[in-house]
Symmetry: C2
Subunit: 489 residues, 2 copies
């Protein structure tokens, strides 16, 4: 890419000013159109140190109402960010529908810097590229416009800009040691940049190289590309994307109808005896995984009134409160709905060494969102693969993922609903919606069967908790959690 | 890809038969929908020798009316095909809108075989991958559904199938020496396949790996993917694609209004003297490039009545008729219009050592098709890059590309139109359409200026022939052709 690239020709002064004016006005007009079309626009500025990323962002945003954009200057990852998956801090920044996020700079800089500092092996680099390609593809497949600019200046220009900055007390701090190193090893850096850009030059999120030798000219090039790309993206809001083949090893799951529920029960005595022992054991493991900095993600899905809440309580009862969090997941709030559906889960990931328990999860995409038509057919059909990719990312990061489906039969649900209805203290737990969902039991059952079949990967398999006897389910859950944690620490 | 891939699970017998039936019927129904939606579907079968590519194609096409598909079995390139660019024989096979082409096998097999036989260096491989990615992207950007299947069997299965074939006199011939070699070096081949698939796994044309251990099961997997992909592609017929940045070095061109036409003239004597000498020289060069097998592509665009025909005659007058062809390009015929707009030019490429002269060209896309609305705005805006990529492909193949714009002013055109109108022998040369086009002179001039600016690459620059005096233009053309040929041989 960078090797073959040739700068375009700067128009003559009058034409230049005309074009700049026209583009600035056009971007101003487009911001409301973007809003109408609910298009999220992620603009990534990468490039050489001192190439003027910040400066061009500053110019571009002058044409946009502050309500419609956000600028994120990504410094080196913070202590906390280093304890999350690589993509976490970028995913966090993605814009809402109808808005812009400008990133100065993004996942390219972090990756190429790690390569140059020899922090990534070849195999790790290849895995990183795969993550990046999946990440960008997931964004564009879900309707994001991802604009990637590389701000390019030559070695001499970079050197002279840095010298200029170093001369002034006020700007000196802006030139880092690594920036100087970059200039000294310009050719080597260029090679690494070039390879990265080639590796991530996707049809749906191509690279645009900006001749950044002249700041105003850089602005014009950026505006040009932004405008034409936005116009195209607005035409494509209803675009569907191919359903990719599953590339992850799957574990065979039974259909729900085949799950034997009878006889899976414990008496009070057995239950309390086992509970005490298992919780003690889990408490010890929690300390160990905290010291070893293993992140753990436990997820619960299941029928209404299946006993998820009580089950979770028996897990958390064993844990040090400083080391876990429970995330009850309801319908997405407006600011969550306005983003990629996985965003609200990415942003709730635990730090390493911590446990996050999700009471309902991202699987809503292929259950309630599918059945209630909250997303398109293409959306939920794509989601099996997107979710597997998401969990693979977590697993590669080192997370232990334990997914529970809490299973009861229709009669048991009816009995529990009725009991809730008749018990004043439990009435808050039962709503009209629960009854409506119950009517769709068969549709849900089909959806769950498909979900179990398509997302039970070897690195994040589903576990079924037979919960007609809640005690049985609780003990089983504890045993599985302990077994899985022991496997990993 | 191949490394991580795990086979899916074969459904049980009854479900299997049900799904197969359902899919066969669905594909049958889809063929008319594809016709209505004018969707071209290119289905590529790649994979291991003896994996059953032919057999699964045979099964799939049973559900399609023979008018709607074509099967192309790609043997090793023929003598003639080896004298064309790598992609030529594949481009030739792309389907019309509303139809299928099944390729057994495609550009993957040719590439990986060349890698395994050490016929491609690392640099050549990388260039090849770039060509393939561009080729597939151009197809999908232009509305093609490109389905890529890799038929996978393990080493033992392959060995036993080949042994089976070798035992029978009737099937023995189907196992080549290279097939046996492949089985012996299965691991090495798998690595090369895996890399190729990773390198070409684009979001818009992803790979699908088919578990081909069981033929009926392979059919079901292929049908499944074909159906879901076709359904998605039909929803996307009006999809626009991003405008990619030009990555090729451009040569600065003047605007037409800046081209000085006055004083560019020759008297009869000068003309005939030069013509004779230049034609003699060109004739000699033609022999040399024939021996050196250099392919030459000369293209003419220009205003109506600018003198293209006479100019071409002065070139061909110097050439051995066995070594050149003139292609007059009119409106596309239905079978041409039904394909990628570059298809009719790909199929007219010269063999190496030959000269092809195009009287009007692929630049119609950004002139008449643009101005008359024969394609969408996104189509013609994308075309500058697509054309540069096309010409780069030709240039990399070794072709000399010489592009002429034959320039006159509006008054000269009027004088020539009037003369044609008044001269009974020339009246056939002037039509109502010529007069209509003349009314759009200014729009055309803008389009030509943009075209010259955006497609004058260093490997295929434009040359302007000032043709108010046709003699001057002819001599200039001959000189440029001679100069360019001498540069390359």
């Amino acid at each position: 890419m960078l090797k073959e690239w040739m700068p375009g020709e700067i128009p003559e002064k009058r034409e230049f000013e005309e074009q700049l004016d026209k583009n600035r006005n056009r971007l101003y007009d487009l911001q409301t159109k973007i809003k109408e079309h609910r298009l999220p626009v992620l603009v990534l500025f990468e490039g050489w140190a001192a190439a003027g990323k910040g400066s061009v962002i500053g110019k571009v945003i002058k044409n946009i109402d502050p309500r419609f954009f956000k600028v994120a200057t990504m410094a080196s990852p913070s202590e906390e960010e280093l304890r999350k998956p690589f993509l976490y801090r970028y995913m966090k920044q993605i814009p809402e529908e109808g808005k812009f996020t400008f990133l100065d700079s993004g996942w390219m800089e972090q990756t190429t810097e790690e390569v140059l500092k020899k922090k990534l092996t070849e195999a790790e680099y290849e895995k990183r590229i795969e993550s990046v390609r999946r990440f960008e593809r997931q964004l564009t497949d879900n309707g994001y416009l991802v604009l990637k600019f590389f701000m390019h200046i030559d070695r001499e220009e970079q050197d002279s800009r840095m010298k200029g900055l170093l001369e002034e007390e006020d700007t000196k701090w802006r030139v880092t040691k690594f920036d100087r190193w970059q200039n000294k090893h310009y050719g080597k850096c260029k090679k690494v940049f070039d390879r990265y850009m080639k590796d991530t030059n996707l049809p749906s999120s191509p690279w645009y190289i900006i001749d950044a030798g002249n700041r105003k000219w850089a602005e014009l090039q950026v505006l040009d590309t932004m405008i034409s790309s936005i116009e195209i993206a607005m035409q494509n809001r209803l675009h569907s994307s191919p359903l990719l083949q599953n590339v992850f090893p799957l574990v065979k799951m039974p259909k729900l109808a085949e799950v034997e529920l009878q006889g899976k029960e414990l008496n009070e005595e057995e239950y309390h005896h086992e509970l005490k022992q298992l919780q003690k054991h889990l408490g010890e493991l929690h300390n160990r995984l905290y010291r070893k900095r293993v992140p753990v993600i436990i997820t619960y899905e299941g029928w209404d009134a299946a006993g998820k809440g009580g089950n979770i309580k028996r897990i958390t009862g064993a844990l040090d409160p400083r080391g876990y969090e429970v995330h009850p997941i309801a319908s997405p709030e407006p600011h969550e709905k306005a983003r990629h559906y996985l965003w609200r889960f990415w942003t709730r990931l635990p730090k390493d060494g911590h446990i996050a328990i999700f009471d309902r999860t991202w699987y809503g995409r292929v259950m309630v969102e599918r059945l209630e038509g909250f997303c398109t057919e293409n959306d939920w059909k794509r989601a099996y693969n997107e979710i597997n990719e998401f969990e693979k990312e977590l697993s590669d990061w080192g997370a232990v993922i334990i997914k529970f489906w809490v299973q009861i039969d229709k009669d048991t649900q009816l009995a529990r609903f009725t009991e809730r209805q008749n018990n004043p203290e439990k009435q808050w737990k039962i709503t009209e919606e629960d009854w409506r969902n119950r009517e769709k039991w068969d549709l849900y059952e089909d959806a769950v069967d498909e979900m179990l079949k398509k997302t039970s990967t070897s690195f994040a398999p589903w576990h079924i908790l037979e919960s007609v006897d809640k005690k049985y389910a609780r003990i089983k859950a504890l045993k599985i959690v302990i077994r899985e944690l022991e496997k990993h620490i």
